[in-house]
């Protein structure tokens, strides 16, 4: 008997709650189109909604190292942070939450031009040129790693192509930062009919850029196919060492411990990390110091940043 009484008691209470949620939901569906008209809380007083990447992500490790927090003996990341596990999701989250601030790779900013806005850091525009001349500090290398004995001539040709003028042009077109002053054109004739499969994988941030390179390379050598498994920077390094991937990719500096095993590394290009906010946000600029304060939870209100 008591099972029945408990169930109906609980039922009456919770069904009404969920019905409210359900009504709220259906009504939400209609007025989602008119979201703009409902007045959002005035931005200035709003709390900053800090967004970061998951532990281990190359983009996050580089960001925290450059800004200088959350490492050994440094102030830790703020408690109330939203973790999103991918550049795309961070961008979409920032695009939909007016009070959020996040960081994404230049490539993602380049892809989501209209829906999110990059902030200037210490007054410096978040552009490849400013990274090249050193004014824009927040950047990290895209590293290609491999074990020399695993390479066949297909991989060697690809490495040479990536470092060549043609390769650097493609990297530049995709929003990464290259110093193509001294590179010479890729000499196709050195490799007669190449064939084989480029087994590659690693960081999710480098995926679109490496694919662009590989697309062009396979256009030049139609018998070559390629494959890129986005399983993360550490997996990229680990699989490059044990040979599952012929070429591994990481979106952070390669640790010395990883180099011990005879791993060769080559910097493909630099990739800036842009601080991004929702387009409705009036804040334009943020200093490196302010970034640290926001991400360590000392600054929690947008008003503290507004000029």
């Amino acid at each position: 008997m008591n099972l029945k009484k408990l169930l109906s008691l609980v039922a009456v209470a919770t069904v009404s709650l969920s019905v409210v949620a359900c009504e709220g939901q259906t009504e939400k569906k209609e007025d989602q189109k008119t979201a703009e008209s409902t007045e959002t809380p005035a931005l200035k007083e709003g709390v900053i909604d800090v967004v970061s990447r998951e532990a281990g992500s190359g983009t996050r490790q580089a960001f925290e190292e450059i800004i200088g927090f959350n490492g050994e003996g440094q102030t830790p990341l703020t408690e109330n942070v939203t973790i999103k596990d991918g550049n795309g999701v961070v961008a979409t989250y920032v695009a939909e939450n007016e009070q959020s601030i996040g960081y994404v790779s230049f490539v993602t900013l380049h892809e989501n031009e209209g829906s999110i806005e990059g902030l200037t850091v210490d007054g410096v525009e978040a552009t490849p040129e400013n990274v090249l001349n050193g004014d824009y500090a927040v950047a990290r290398p895209f590293e290609m790693v491999y074990m020399d004995e695993n390479l066949t001539d297909v991989e060697r040709a690809f490495i040479e192509f990536a470092a060549s003028q043609d390769g650097l042009d493609i990297l530049d077109e995709n929003g990464t930062i290259v110093d193509n002053s001294k590179a010479e054109a890729f000499d196709m004739t050195k490799y007669d009919q190449l064939s084989g499969n480029l087994m590659m994988g690693g960081s999710t941030s480098t995926e679109s850029v490496v694919k662009a390179l590989a697309d062009e390379f396979c256009a030049l050598f139609p018998k070559v196919t390629y494959e890129y498994n986005a399983t993360g920077s550490s997996a990229g390094v680990k699989n490059a060492i044990d040979g599952t991937y012929k070429l591994g990719f990481a979106s952070r500096e390669i640790k010395d411990s990883e180099l011990e095993s005879g791993l060769q590394t080559m910097t493909l290009c630099m990739d800036g990390i842009a601080l991004v906010v929702n387009p409705t946000n009036e804040v334009e600029d943020i200093s490196t110091e302010q970034i640290k304060e926001v991400y360590t939870g000392n600054i929690t209100e947008w008003s503290a940043l507004a000029k």
Binding site: V12, T26, G88, V89, G196, P222
Partner: protein, 388 residues
């Protein structure tokens, strides 16, 4: 509260709950269709996922006529019998003459290349100069380059965005997983219902099945990676994913087959034994035939679960959308990586926030799973009608 009012309240709650459940379905399915419908097209189903770029060399020996229906903004080349039109930031082939040299185009390795309407031309190299085609290039120069009558190299990109490789990988996954889990599941259930004497052994098996049913699919993902990908050295592959799913599906297969076997009345078995039939004859001639509807439900549930599974596959089958084809031999191989529909849908949202693509994939999955449900219901009804 009088009994009448209490009944009224309960009745209302029951109707509300049912409405809530169905309402949720309508909301979720409605959301998926509204977000994804625009992307659904034949190309979406059959195109390759990744775009493929090719350098093609073309010679032309005759002049071609522009079709009457060509729009003004299109640029027409008498030399090649092809028309290009600026779409947002790239030039697309909008018309091709039947005998245009583009039909016989070959790439750097002299392999024939299929170029079709909708492919995008990125670059033209002719008599020493190379011209990049985007919205900034001057249109006269393009027409002039197109009409220079000697060999011309054109960089053509076939636009991707299709999910064909994922459909094939998912189907292969279904095959591999069912191939292993169905027989094992059914045979195990037969043991539990027909042979097992209550005791320690049966309790251990039942408890193990309960645990298997409870293990979250993300833990299966880790286990699959450790056992099949690394230890058995299968590497990230359809086979590794399929084997991981086999274990994940075992409890479902066993439980549904057990239910189906239990539904078969004991009197059938007694009658069969009474006529001198032995256990195997009783099983194969009487028990299994009338348990088939239930077993079919188990198979359909499993297929639905495979197609819907993503956490268990994240670390075992790879994320690159390609046909699981061995590059050297050129034929399908289970040891190749591939990615399933749901894994790719997750990566679309995670990596590029592309909710529309994920929803479009969702539509395909729903259609497949719904037809499966319908199909199994018909078979089950037909079989149960034939039985009694």
């Amino acid at each position: 509260m009088s009994r009448k009012v209490k009944d009224q309240l309960c009745n209302m709650l029951i109707w509300l709950s049912a409405a809530f459940s169905v309402g949720i379905l309508v909301l979720v399915v409605g959301f998926i269709f509204s977000k994804g419908w625009s992307k659904i097209s034949l190309d979406f189903l059959f195109n390759d996922y990744e775009s493929k770029t090719q350098y093609v060399t073309l010679e032309s020996d005759q002049a071609y006529q522009a079709p009457a229906s060509l729009s003004e903004s299109a640029l027409f080349s008498e030399n090649l019998g092809v028309a290009l039109e600026l779409k947002e930031d790239h030039y697309e082939i909008v018309w091709m003459d039947k005998e245009s040299p583009l039909k016989e185009a070959t790439n750097n390795a002299d392999e024939k290349v299929k170029i079709s309407k909708g492919d995008c031309v990125q670059q033209i190299k002719v008599s020493g100069k190379s011209l990049k085609l985007d919205k900034k290039t001057d249109q006269e120069e393009i027409v002039k380059a197109l009409n220079e009558n000697n060999t011309l190299v054109m960089k053509v990109m076939s636009v991707g965005g299709g999910i064909f490789p994922m459909i094939v990988s998912t189907l292969l996954l279904v095959l591999v997983a069912l191939l292993f889990s169905a027989p094992i599941g059914i045979l195990a259930a037969i043991y539990l219902v027909e042979y097992a004497k209550p005791g320690k052994l049966v309790n251990v098996i039942r408890f193990a099945t309960e645990i298997l049913a409870g293990i979250p699919s993300v833990v299966y993902g880790l286990f699959g990676m450790l056992m099949f990908v690394n230890t058995l050295n299968l590497g990230m592959s359809i086979l590794a994913g399929g084997l991981t799913l086999t274990i994940l599906l075992l409890p479902t297969m066993m439980r549904t087959t057990e239910e189906a076997l239990k539904v078969v009345p004991m009197s059938y078995r007694e009658a069969s034994y009474g006529l001198g039939a032995n256990k195997i004859q009783t099983l194969s001639k009487v028990v299994l035939p009338s348990a088939i509807p239930g077993i079919l439900v188990g198979v359909i549930l499993s297929i639905g679960r495979i197609i819907g599974e993503s956490a268990a596959l994240l670390f075992t089958i790879g994320t690159f959308a390609k046909l699981p084809v061995n590059p050297e031999s050129g034929n399908f191989s289970l040891l190749e990586t591939g990615t399933s529909l749901t894994v790719r849908a997750y990566i679309e949202v995670k990596e590029s926030g592309n909710v529309e693509m994920a929803a479009a994939i969702g539509i395909i999955i729903l259609i497949v799973v719904f037809t499966l449900n319908l199909f199994s219901r018909l078979i089950a009804k037909k079989f149960s009608k034939a039985n009694n």
